[in-house]
């Protein structure tokens, strides 16, 4: 591994050897020739040598015992964590009681009026409809619980994220320190840190809110930093020339200029927090997530869907409203009138008081529409007719079987059969050819860390599933994305579908996936594809649509057919977007590895779930760390040179 740190030599060789990629590969080959025999002699090849592993189970078990024994008496808990926990409980409770006091009509009015002020009439109507739908599904109280949790978690994430963002936006050194921290926070599967959080805070709302903050703060931090760094130099100079202090500059110029990024950060944070709502239910967060989770226990897809739909509705409404607010910010700096907000307040108070007078604060029971039964019947029909014995094409179970035997098995066995040093070499070669020696070094170290942690074999199993899922996702995603880029109507039709798949809690489709594909790695791959596909389709469509229309017209006037246009103009020009799609596909697929563990995917995903269920910090955390390393490696391997090069060494 030492070789990779060597910089590429400037050899005056002719022809092919001038090609940088070839130079890099030759150098790597040279290193391999020297190092591999050494490594082979010392540790016989095959799976990762046991001499190079570190067993963390002992210290981790001790840590967990220490926490349990001292949780009720140690000052750290009494005077710090205890208070943190209390603040969270008080905040969530305050919001929850307020929502209950306003009543369902008041909350609906509040949502609609706020949406009207920041985003216009159409979204106001949509918001009202969404809230009413939550009530109709019989989910009013759980929706309010989730909302209370979200308010607390999003506020905390925004504060934490902005502080981190300020630090990294104002200081280059902090930026360098924080970047890997934020990377890790995002790639670490939420399941892996649920356990440590639960150990410290116990089951319940405080742990859930804090786990959500870990997950949802990074986008806020990144976008805050981006906004501060992107502030217009000229404006800043002008402000400086007026003799303002650094703090004044920050408050009066830099932060207001970064308004748009801050709002986008808020939007992203809300989305991430909502997607944690269900996962947090595993540690007793209550609310909608808990309903989904409990429905899963009795294999009741209909009930899970009834609780999942409000989550989707909340996500779509909050996304559209915050996005619209962001666009308005840029469009017209409308004169701020406090009057409008006064109307909002008056309207909500009026409706809430009216609701209280009529005695209709709780959602009336007769107004609940049961959707569970028809949904379950539909799922039963689907699985009964598609699972097997479909003429000619075969049933879904057959497909899953073939996919396992013909794709997953050879890939897993192939990866696990490779000598460990050759895996490192392949990673190094891929990362170096696509990126710089730095990215290659990170990728190799991440891969080596997996070996050191002692989870080499399960990690390669997981890797094979991830690669297979990404491959399918990309093929389907690119095809759909290209089609959507060429037809406005298709894009419009796809939009709500993509919204639903992106925000629907993964627990909801766990059972249908098993009912169609059986237990094993195939359903795990299917779940990952469902989750990652929308993002890939979106990025592809957007990338293709942003290709310069002039280039398209020029090629059209030269008589290129539509296919030629796509192949020779659009796709090459959209290359950065397509690469981003690959990168996002990988990250998202990796994010559902744990969900895959719940349907028989085994390997790292199962270990993480096992750790949580058995309170086994060693198994859970180590597997979680291995997933992070895999994520880091895959990210570096797919990160093109341009992006890195710009940041500069």
């Amino acid at each position: 591994m030492a070789t990779i740190t060597a910089s590429p030599p400037r050899l005056g060789l002719p022809g092919l050897l001038k090609n940088r990629a070839v130079q890099k590969l030759l150098l790597l080959a040279l290193a391999a020739v020297i190092l591999v025999p050494l490594a082979n002699a010392r540790w016989a090849s095959g799976a990762w040598p046991s001499g190079l592993t570190v067993d963390l189970s002992e210290p981790l078990a001790k840590t967990s015992d220490w926490i349990i024994d001292n949780r009720d008496s140690h000052p750290l808990f009494l005077y710090f964590f205890g208070h943190v926990s209390n603040v969270v409980v008080i905040a969530v409770r305050a919001v929850y009681l307020t929502l209950l006091a306003i009543g369902w009509a008041g909350v609906t009015a509040l949502g609609a009026l706020v949406a009207w002020r920041v985003a216009g009439v159409r979204l106001a109507l949509g918001t009202a409809a969404a809230f009413l739908a939550c009530g109709l599904l019989g989910m009013w109280v759980p929706t309010m619980q989730t909302l209370a949790l979200m308010v607390a978690a999003v506020l905390a994430s925004v504060v934490v994220g902005m502080l981190l963002g300020l630090a990294s936006g104002l200081s280059d050194r902090m930026d360098r320190v924080l970047r890997p921290v934020l990377d890790t926070m995002q790639v670490l599967p939420a399941f892996a840190y649920l356990l440590p959080v639960v150990l410290v805070f116990g089951i319940g709302v405080p742990a859930a809110v804090l786990a959500t903050v870990v997950y949802a703060a990074p986008p806020m931090a990144r976008l805050t930093s981006l906004g501060l760094r992107g502030a217009d130099k000229e404006v800043l100079e002008a402000v400086e020339s007026l003799g303002s202090t650094a703090r004044q500059r920050l408050l009066t110029a830099r932060i207001p200029l970064a308004r748009k990024e801050l709002l986008l950060g808020l939007n992203q944070t809300i989305m991430m927090a909502l997607s944690m709502a269900v996962i947090a239910a595993v540690i007793g967060a209550g609310g909608l997530g808990d309903r989904v989770y409990q429905a899963l226990a009795s294999v009741d897809v209909g009930a899970a869907l009834a609780a999942g739909i409000p989550i989707v509705l909340l996500a779509v409404v909050l996304d559209r409203v915050t996005a619209a607010a962001g666009e308005r910010l840029g469009a017209d700096p409308e004169p701020r009138s406090g009057l409008g907000w006064l109307y909002v307040l008056a309207g909500v108070v009026a409706v809430a008081v009216a609701g209280r007078l009529v005695g209709r604060l709780d959602w009336p029971d007769p107004w609940v529409v049961g959707i569970a039964e028809p949904v379950n019947r539909a799922v039963d029909w689907m699985t009964a007719h598609l699972y097997s014995g479909v003429p000619v094409i075969g049933g879904t179970a057959d497909w899953a079987g073939h996919f396992t035997t013909w794709v997953l098995d050879p890939m897993r066995d192939g990866l696990q059969g490779l000598p460990w040093w050759s895996v490192l070499l392949i990673v190094a070669a891929l990362a170096w050819v696509i990126g710089t020696w730095r990215t290659a070094l990170t990728a190799v170290l991440a891969m080596a860390a997996i070996g050191v942690l002692g989870v080499w074999k399960p990690s390669l199993d997981t890797l094979s599933q991830v690669l297979a899922a990404v491959a399918v996702t990309l093929v389907v995603g690119f095809a759909v994305g290209i089609a959507a880029a060429r037809s406005d109507r298709l894009e419009r039709a796809l939009r709500p579908v993509l919204d639903v798949f992106q925000t629907m809690p993964q627990f909801v489709y766990l059972i249908p996936v098993v009912a169609l594909f059986g237990v094993g790695r195939a359903p795990a791959v299917a779940a990952a594809i469902v989750y990652a596909l929308p993002a890939v389709v979106r990025i592809t469509t957007q990338g293709l649509r942003q290709v310069d229309p002039a280039a398209m017209e020029a090629s059209g006037s030269l008589g290129a057919t539509s296919w030629q246009q796509l192949k020779q103009v659009q796709l090459p020009l959209a290359r950065p977007a397509l690469l981003l799609a690959v990168n996002q596909g990988l990250v998202l697929v990796l994010a559902v590895v744990v969900i895959g563990g719940l349907v028989g995917g085994g390997a790292l995903g199962y270990d993480v779930v096992f750790g949580l269920a058995q309170g086994d910090l060693a198994t859970g955390l180590v597997a979680g760390a291995a997933i992070v390393c895999l994520g880091l490696m895959l990210d570096r391997v797919t990160q093109p040179t341009e992006r890195r090069a710009k940041k500069g060494a």
Binding site: R71, D72, L78, F81, G82, H83, V84, S85, N86, V87, V89, R93, Y96, L97, L100, Q145, V198, G202, I203, G204, V205, P206, A281, V282, I283, G284, D290, Q294, L296, A297, S298, V299, D300, N376, T383, Y387, S388, G401, T405, D409, L510, I511, V514, A515, G518, V519, G520, A522, G597, L598, V599, G600, G602, Y606, V609, F610, L612, A613, Q614, G615
Partner: protein, 318 residues
């Protein structure tokens, strides 16, 4: 550095101010959703299997309708539930399948959890094949013959070996060691969740396909998919002491209830009721089947059972 220490000091003191000064007892925090409308609340933990849901549903129904409590339920696996119980986050765990390590730590050493007697249901874990298969091959129900039939149980997931399907990671299982120590030509495939395992079993049963699975009783699924237990080498006290060397069947476990110690002392009628709560396997299955198969809400299922078993639950009321 000075700035940072002042900031930390400020943060800590403002936290303290917000929540009242002094030490914050981590064991004295209820859910923010509890007692929302000024009612007395009991928090019950629910485990992910339906039998546990049934216990809780009936207890909840009676606490609410007969004793005037408000009940919150929290879904957690058994081991985290012990931890939550010790901290007072939940008041009761109604169905425990035996966790000696946790019992030692929380009941005997820390005394934060108090035993609350037996649930009345005896649990048993074992290996099962569907009864239609056992009828075709009567000798399949002895472990000694399993290797002969390994081919029958092959799936894409288990490769060239037979598949032994295991379930949720929260279950007590020695299956990997058993397969190895009994020299069976089988591969343990973890379904990863009970929901996935049940879904797969139903699919197999619909097509009358052979399968071999880790399963447990009492369980409502037996009513839908009749299954026969495969005989493993008999269980003897202590034969499962070393998890690596296990080569015997699983024991029959009388399931236990546990309460938070404070709640057991000061929980009034609710605590007294939960201590007396004791029903039979048949009762539990009746409710479970209504929930899982008839897709009734746990509340409706509990109501149905309560309405028709008055003499049973009258005895539990304090």
């Amino acid at each position: 550095m000075r700035v940072r220490t002042t900031a930390i000091a400020a943060a800590v003191s403002s936290l303290a101010l917000l929540t009242g000064c002094g030490a914050a007892d981590m064991t004295k925090q209820a859910s923010p959703f509890a007692n929302a409308q000024g009612a007395k609340t009991v928090t019950l933990s629910v485990q992910s299997w339906v039998g546990a849901q049934s216990n809780v549903a009936v207890a909840q129904y009676l606490l609410e309708h007969e004793l005037g409590y408000r009940v919150d339920t929290v879904q957690v696996d058994e081991v985290p539930a012990w931890d939550a119980l010790s901290q007072g986050r939940v008041d009761a765990l109604l169905e425990d399948w035996g966790h000696p390590e946790q019992e030692q730590r929380y009941v005997k050493d820390k005394k934060t959890i108090a035993p609350a007697g037996e649930l009345g249901v005896t649990g048993h874990i074992g290996w099962f094949v569907p009864t239609y298969l056992a009828k075709q091959h009567p000798d399949i129900t002895n472990w000694k013959n399993l290797n002969k039939y390994a081919d029958l149980f092959r799936t894409p997931e288990s490769g060239s070996k037979g598949q032994l399907m295991d379930g949720s990671p929260s279950y007590v299982t020695n299956d990997k060691a058993l397969v190895k120590n009994l020299k069976l030509d089988y591969q343990v495939v973890f379904a990863g969740s009970e929901a996935a395992q049940i879904t797969q079993m139903k699919q197999f049963a619909k097509e009358k396909k052979p399968f071999l699975t880790y399963w447990y009783s009492p369980q409502w699924l037996f009513k839908k998919v009749p299954m026969t237990e495969v005989k493993l080498p008999a269980y003897k006290e202590g034969c499962d002491a070393d998890p690596e060397k296990v080569a015997c069947a699983y024991p029959h476990t009388p399931l236990q209830k546990y309460l938070n110690t404070d709640f057991a002392k000061n929980g009034g009628k609710a605590a007294a009721f939960l201590k007396k709560f004791k029903w039979t396997t048949g009762d539990q299955n009746e409710v479970s089947l209504l929930i899982a198969d008839k897709k009734m809400t746990p509340e409706d299922a509990a109501k149905k059972w309560v309405d028709s078993h008055k003499s049973t639950w009258k005895k539990w009321l304090p």
